[in-house]
């Protein structure tokens, strides 16, 4: 059984404590929900897990390995979508990188098949979020780090995301999700970043 271990994770920025001494473990097929007020450190915590920001101290291990970058996919506030590219070009590139062949099915599933040749600058924020979710799906990484993933999605989009997360969990993945609203069908573990 694959396991994500987080031990005594602490992060300081410019001398200020962002979060302190967070420890927990997640087995494959489990979901963790991060809650907390604005500025409580949810985004920084996810960025530390993804390896984008170095922690001040603590240990992150997955499957007893300390090299983690191959295992995490972070869906953050900044989606990395170029205005002049189309959803088709964007997903074609990332599917080539991740070795996924059926990326058009993914575009169809997230509801972007009809605007696949439209420049991303003409997409709504919700459609851009759907494009980012489609990248998440083709990445095939075992651990998903989702930072406020429903912030610009409509009701149908939220329902789609729930289903996608469920499928990921059923297939033995792990998800750590920060959200103000508990939209998940099932949550194994909850961390309140204010405490």
């Amino acid at each position: 059984m694959r396991k994500l271990n987080i031990s005594n994770l602490t992060c300081y920025r410019s001398g200020n404590e962002i979060f302190n001494d967070i420890s927990f473990s997640l087995n494959q097929g489990e979901v963790c929900l991060l809650t907390g007020s604005n500025g409580s450190g949810k985004t920084t915590f996810l960025r530390v897990l993804a390896g984008l920001v170095p922690p001040s101290s603590g240990l992150i291990e997955y499957n007893n390995l300390k090299s983690l970058s191959d295992n995490f996919y972070i869906l953050g506030h900044k989606l990395g979508i170029k205005d002049e590219a189309t959803p088709y070009e964007d997903l074609f590139f990332w599917s080539s990188v991740y070795g996924c062949k059926n990326f058009e099915d993914t575009l169809e599933r997230v509801g972007l098949i009809n605007c696949k040749f439209l420049k991303c600058k003409y997409l709504s924020q919700g459609q851009k979020q759907r494009l980012a979710i489609s990248r998440l799906m083709i990445s095939k990484k075992p651990i998903w780090l989702l930072d406020e993933p429903i912030s610009s999605l409509d009701r149908e989009g939220i329902s789609l995301l729930k289903d996608i997360i469920d499928e990921h969990i059923i297939h033995g993945g792990i998800a750590i999700i920060s959200s103000h609203i508990d939209f998940l069908k099932k949550c194994n573990f909850q961390i309140d970043m204010d405490k």
């Binding site: 993804a50 390896g51 995490f72 900044k78 990395g80 990188v97």
Partner: protein, 224 residues
């Protein structure tokens, strides 16, 4: 290697198609070379003698325009996050970024230099040496440039700071780049040219070999 190629092609396509920063570089370089003879005066022999220095200085000043865009745009829109968590190492990403910068910004300038050199009355028989020195020297500008771009990643005043940080590192490239061609114009001595070209290649080789590693370290600790 496959992912490096994919990312390289994507970045090249964006540089030439979407961002179009090479047009700004080409325009700035052309205008500065065309304006210089007007400012200096019509003395042909004087213009010819200072033309290597003018071309190299114009190339360096033009490069400062595009260095801001190496990492900042990708950092601000989240693309750099995706690259960092993707299959390529940060060193490979830095190497790729510098190479793309050279291809999309310096290569067009090198192509247009033979035409613009007419305005400076540059000796046509030495044109091949000038192009050779530019091909050897300009990669160091891109690879040193990524250091400045990564150091100022999260700063708002990066437009001002990048030239200040990397300007001293560009001076040896300017000295040996223009010096090599000047030695041919003034002395006609190929030995001195070869020696300066070898030093220029050494600077470029060291920059290509070391800067991606230094840049990746900077991106690890200065990514906030």
């Amino acid at each position: 290697m496959k992912n490096f190629k994919l990312l390289f092609l994507k970045e090249i396509k964006e540089s030439f198609g979407l961002k179009g920063s090479y047009i700004l570089s080409l325009t700035f370089f052309s205008i500065s070379i065309i304006l210089l003879p007007i400012g200096v005066g019509p003395n042909k022999s004087f213009l010819s003698s200072i033309s290597p220095g003018l071309i190299w200085v114009s190339i360096i000043l033009t490069s400062l325009l595009s260095l801001n865009n190496i990492f900042h745009e990708d950092f601000n829109d989240g693309t750099l996050d995706l690259y960092k968590t993707g299959p390529l190492s940060i060193t490979e990403i830095c190497f790729m970024k510098a190479t793309v910068h050279w291809v999309s910004n310096f290569l067009p300038l090198i192509f247009i230099t033979p035409i613009l050199s007419i305005f400076l009355d540059f000796p046509p028989n030495l044109l091949i040496y000038l192009i050779f020195s530019l091909i050897l020297g300009t990669p160091s500008l891109s690879f040193i440039g990524i250091l400045g771009s990564s150091l100022t990643l999260s700063l708002k005043q990066h437009n001002l700071l990048i030239p200040l940080i990397i300007f001293p590192l560009f001076i040896p490239v300017l000295i040996f780049g223009s010096g090599a061609i000047s030695s041919l114009i003034f002395i006609g001595f190929e030995d001195l040219f070869i020696r300066q070209i070898l030093i220029l290649s050494g600077i470029s080789g060291l920059s290509v070999a070391l800067c991606p590693f230094a840049c990746s370290y900077i991106l690890e600790v200065n990514y906030d």
